[in-house]
């Protein structure tokens, strides 16, 4: 599966309050939530993000709360994939579970610049600019997580397997 879009750069330790502030957690519809994605830290994000765009960040992306509203808001806003040096563990699980593709790469944060047109191959982990000038590979995804992605998220996986 390939994803293609523009790169949005973020720093280290992007926390869930930045992704979706707590005052919007009285909402549980993903499209409603997506209107407030990054509202405090990048107010222009929701207006300008296009389907398939790629968030590229540093270490510990998604730290803080367990709120699944965070990956939902990003996904519904159109984000096609998140690439970070590392992820906070709850966000990592949540993203897989809801089918928001995420990749770990030490190099991507340095290599890709804001606005670069980039594509991501989820099967091979290849991340490259469309002019092919920059290219890195993400860390391989654990087999079990790959199964969850192939099934189309945790709900589909459990339905298929009957249980875990």
């Amino acid at each position: 599966m390939k994803i293609e879009g523009m790169v949005w750069k973020f720093g280290d330790h992007v926390d869930t309050d930045m992704i979706i502030p707590a005052r919007y957690l009285n909402l549980s519809d993903e499209h409603e939530l997506s209107k407030y994605c990054f509202i405090d830290v990048r107010p222009d994000f929701v207006k300008e993000v296009r389907v398939g765009d790629i968030a590229v960040a540093g270490v510990n992306f998604g730290c803080g709360s367990s709120r699944e509203h965070a990956p939902w808001a990003m996904k519904a806003a159109g984000v096609g994939a998140v690439i970070a040096k590392s992820f906070a563990r709850i966000f990592y699980r949540n993203a897989f579970n809801i089918g928001l593709p995420i990749l770990e790469s030490e190099d991507a944060a340095e290599a890709f610049s804001e606005g670069a047109r980039t594509s991501v191959d989820l099967e091979t982990g290849e991340i490259k600019t469309t002019d092919k000038e920059t290219r890195v590979f993400a860390k391989p995804v654990p087999d079990f997580m790959r199964e969850i992605i192939r099934a189309g998220g945790l709900v589909a996986y459990i339905k298929r397997e009957g249980s875990f």
Binding site: D15, L25, L154
Partner: protein, 419 residues
């Protein structure tokens, strides 16, 4: 094979003799928790799974505590959905106003957690129950929805970091200071995917209340769980609360740790985390005298009886500084009641504090005590991210209940020594 307590609990719940770090295991869950923010999404997942019934109506706790008493129509709808689900599936532990408080305060208080349990909550501070020698960790709503249906989940066995606290705690230095100091060392990503084991002579003497405070903030270092070896103090706490004896597990002496960090406490001062990160920690004497608009005493970190009691030791006969809004929220109805009996509430009121109903309150900036542009608050809670308690241009400092009380009186961040 020698194992840590965490590994022993995971092995027991996976039906295995041993487990080792990095291994993926399927485990049975003893208790599943969700709140008014995370339960509605988990319930949707439960329905998407086309599950007929919950795995065990007595092993699920649903606790509306974030936006209660309902702050607006949307939050009322969320609680309604949760309530209807609880009724339909006859969930035993659904707590509404009058009975409810902060999830991580009331679950241990009601005896729902015993040492050796495996608890999963759709809330990152589920790690609090590690104080009781249980394995507990936060997950998202999809994971929780799956647990509601199956009673099972998967986990990666975490590598362990051992923290050894040695020496004698100076006056006014509490569990909160120990954990803030530790976060200062580890950093907010210092324990990602790891288990934090709190040990040493200081820990063995620490009350349950202080242990809850420390385990609560394990996630602020990115840890999967924080854990204490259960002992006589633990036993004293669960007696009369739970009819389950619990498994009093210990880490084997030769269990393996990725890191062992020794922390000498003898010269430690009360600690303060500056904006905008819980690892941005300094001793209170090194903080510039910043003026405060609000002080919040409460939350799942420090809303317990001992916290309120310690704060009033400083407040008796004193007044909150002009211009400071001092908000105090007992973590549960029974803490509230006991605080009334002991005269604690009266002391707060005489000092000029406002008392809120047991709930999360200003901690997450969504309901009560929201901060305006440019305002500064000192809070006994666990996070001070940008906008955590309100306006993105407000600032939050984190500290212990006694530093909160001293600061409320002085109108700026202050050490209890100054009073």
């Amino acid at each position: 094979m020698p194992m840590t307590i965490t590994e022993k609990i995971l092995a027991a719940h996976a039906g295995k003799e041993t487990v080792s770090p990095g291994e993926l295991v399927q485990v049975n869950v003893d208790l599943a928790l969700a709140n008014d923010i995370t339960a509605p999404l988990a319930i949707n997942v439960f329905h998407d799974l086309e599950a007929c019934d919950v795995f065990d109506r007595e092993r699920i706790a649903l606790v509306p505590d974030h936006f209660v008493p309902n702050k607006d129509i949307e939050s009322a709808q969320q609680v309604k959905l949760t309530r209807e689900f609880a009724r339909k599936h006859r969930i035993k532990h659904f707590f509404e106003l009058g009975e409810t408080g902060i999830e991580h305060v009331i679950l241990p208080e009601k005896g729902l957690i015993s040492p050796g349990d495996l608890v999963i909550g759709a809330d990152s501070h589920t790690c609090t129950y590690g104080a009781l020698g249980a394995f507990s960790t936060g997950m998202g709503s999809t994971d929780l929805g799956a647990i509601l249906a199956t009673g099972k989940t998967w986990l990666k066995v975490p590598a362990a970091i051992k923290l050894v606290y040695e020496g004698l705690l100076p006056p006014w230095v509490e569990g909160k200071d120990l954990i803030l100091y530790t976060l200062g060392i580890l950093g907010v990503a210092g324990a990602v995917y790891c288990s934090l084991e709190f040990s040493g002579e200081v820990i063995r003497k620490l009350s349950m209340s202080q242990r809850f405070t420390m385990a609560n903030m394990a996630v602020e270092a990115g840890a999967k769980n924080g854990i204490f070896e259960p002992d006589e103090i633990t036993k004293g706490y669960i007696e009369g609360r739970s009819d389950r004896p619990g498994a009093f597990l210990r880490s084997d002496p030769d269990a393996s740790y990725d890191q062992e960090i020794k922390i000498a406490v003898d010269d430690m001062e009360p600690q303060v985390a500056l904006p905008h990160s819980p690892d941005n920690v300094k001793p209170v004497s090194e903080i510039d005298p910043v003026a405060l608009d609000q002080v919040f005493l409460g939350s799942c970190t420090n809303g317990r009886l001992e916290d309120l009691r310690n704060a009033t030791r400083l407040l008796k006969g004193r007044k909150v500084a002009d211009g400071v809004r001092f908000i105090v929220i007992p973590g549960s109805p029974s803490i509230y009641k006991e605080a009334i009996k002991e005269g604690i509430i009266e002391t707060f009121l005489d000092a000029g504090a406002v008392i809120g109903p047991p709930c999360c309150g200003p901690c997450l900036g969504g309901h009560m005590g929201v901060l305006a542009d440019g305002e500064r608050a000192l809070s006994t809670s666990n996070r001070n991210f940008v906008g955590r308690m309100g306006h993105p241009k407000s600032e939050v400092y984190l500290a212990s209940p006694v530093v909160a009380a001293a600061s409320a009186v002085m109108g700026r961040i202050a050490s209890p020594e100054e009073l």
